[in-house]
Symmetry: D3
Subunit: 134 residues, 6 copies
Amino acid sequence: MMTERYEKGLEKLKELTLPDGENVTGHMDIGKGFKDVAPDLEKYVVEFAFGDIYARPGIDNKQKVLTTISALVAQGTPQIGMHVKTGLVVGLMPDEIVGCIMHLIPYVGFPRALNALKVAQEVFEEEGVSISKE
Amino acid sequence: MMTERYEKGLEKLKELTLPDGENVTGHMDIGKGFKDVAPDLEKYVVEFAFGDIYARPGIDNKQKVLTTISALVAQGTPQIGMHVKTGLVVGLMPDEIVGCIMHLIPYVGFPRALNALKVAQEVFEEEGVSISKE
Amino acid sequence: MMTERYEKGLEKLKELTLPDGENVTGHMDIGKGFKDVAPDLEKYVVEFAFGDIYARPGIDNKQKVLTTISALVAQGTPQIGMHVKTGLVVGLMPDEIVGCIMHLIPYVGFPRALNALKVAQEVFEEEGVSISKE
Amino acid sequence: MMTERYEKGLEKLKELTLPDGENVTGHMDIGKGFKDVAPDLEKYVVEFAFGDIYARPGIDNKQKVLTTISALVAQGTPQIGMHVKTGLVVGLMPDEIVGCIMHLIPYVGFPRALNALKVAQEVFEEEGVSISKE
Amino acid sequence: MMTERYEKGLEKLKELTLPDGENVTGHMDIGKGFKDVAPDLEKYVVEFAFGDIYARPGIDNKQKVLTTISALVAQGTPQIGMHVKTGLVVGLMPDEIVGCIMHLIPYVGFPRALNALKVAQEVFEEEGVSISKE
Amino acid sequence: MMTERYEKGLEKLKELTLPDGENVTGHMDIGKGFKDVAPDLEKYVVEFAFGDIYARPGIDNKQKVLTTISALVAQGTPQIGMHVKTGLVVGLMPDEIVGCIMHLIPYVGFPRALNALKVAQEVFEEEGVSISKE
């Protein structure tokens, strides 16, 4: 039986999905990939990460993705690509995603920013989008 | 003689300052505080951090502050307070600043988020602002 | 109205509390201290951190505290003291807490281990406990 | 000529090895792999990391492995697999290793915990072990 | 039109290049690789990282490379190889590069030091250099 | 009874001490401060950190201190002051210490570099030394 929070999490996850329902970002698969070792993980991801936190008011989805990417750039964790894709789904422009990563250079240094920029570049190419040309 | 980039940096720094010109955030004092050991530091802060990077298009000042706070929360560095103040100056609502920090719990864990929330709480009290009550 | 998870969290929190119910570790106050800026934080701490995760089977309370301390030593976050106290409450011996921190020297380096050892030393003194003498 | 500490380190290393003496965890090969660039490294690994620190009393081998894994999860360093294998050798149950990683979610965030869980999952598959089914 | 700082950066970059002008370290290609997503990045790398900072007096090129490698070892970022190559170009001996990484073991722990040593080992092999034999 | 490595460690520690034998850097007190909780710590600090690692050939004391400071700047750990003092004792010029910290800005970002610069500034003032004026 689905809890109210699980439903709320699923609803939020749909906002991070393409209009045709395609699960391009892979968020929905996180828990499923670990069913054999941590069958309860999916519940925490959907209920807590999406139903509780991602569904919080205060900042909108675009801000939430920029905020997430910024933290991952600072950590140097490898999940940045999934969140760059999520950003495109919720309507962030490539210029905003690049703007966020470039803005972090004075705070986290070039190496971590360049690693993130490389990942964003690959996602942009894969998705066929590009920054605006003036 | 001021370079063009230095002037651009100063101009950007003015946007991060109160309407009456009060330098509440302390950004302008960073370089000055180190004149005796690194007299060239001020130039890099104003020219590079503000004239080059902070003045980049792509994301607006509000997004830039949220992005900065997010990276510092993830790093656990102690400069968060200065950027929370900057956020209030550029028009971020306390709800947005709290929303950003709370959003990071699933990505950086409770300890780093709680440290940042404590700092934001202190700045809000100091500045006499509070989150919206529904 | 309390959810089932909130009750489960409170129950787990009681295990991390002295027999006379004294809340020495301060876990219960985390959310309360942020009521003005993030009124929903308490719910996440009690429901998710304690009701979901801390209440998970797999490892016992003693292992959970050692595991937590180890992660905080590696991160260099300042909440170690609260978890050293929690360790004493759930029955960890000072030798085990010191054993954990000393064991991490080859993995995280002396500086982070020494910072943690200092905190443990202060808690031990405050609580009037000491390592065993052979 | 072997020092006393080197012998103590070798003895401890044997405890982290399969009963048939098979060196599945690779600890013994660390130093050997760097003979050409740092011929003294092996000595430090065996003497200090194993002879001094791993041989310390206070916590047992199972606790030592959980403690190590926790620190590496928090750091995001890639050596986790070797220590998950070590855990199985010293008698940790897959449920305990998963329990440790899942327990860290509130402290280090989902991304670092998921990276570690993936590594544990691969080692479990490779070693033909699985978590208990209730 | 090249700014004075850009020229200063290029000049510094030449010092980090083989006598025959071969750009073995790849520093010059950093910005170029991101022309499509961040056309201004090259300017910041050449002007700020090399024209401003790398060209600063105080420490010489050898010290600068050791300093850089040390920070990257502590961070665990993957750009170490490029800086090990740079070290060889500016005249650091393999013994000095290994000496720097080994020296960091007590400060950052074995895992991060071993990751760096592996990278250095690969670069040494690739470049056909080795540590001195007494 | 002192081991050969312990003696080697003490000898190295003397090089990091003022000519009049004054233990300004506090290295010798590290282990002593923890005699009550970890009586064996002093042995590891003197034998391993100083007798094994600090006494290694490859790089000289000045390089070792710069290397150490760089790693601590990147980590953001608070022991930097002790190593800035050590640097002055082994003959590093204030310009070299500042040069090292400033050089790291593009690699670790301004916040961590500024924290370190502040510590160095305080040590310089305390020791009555200053950077060279051209």
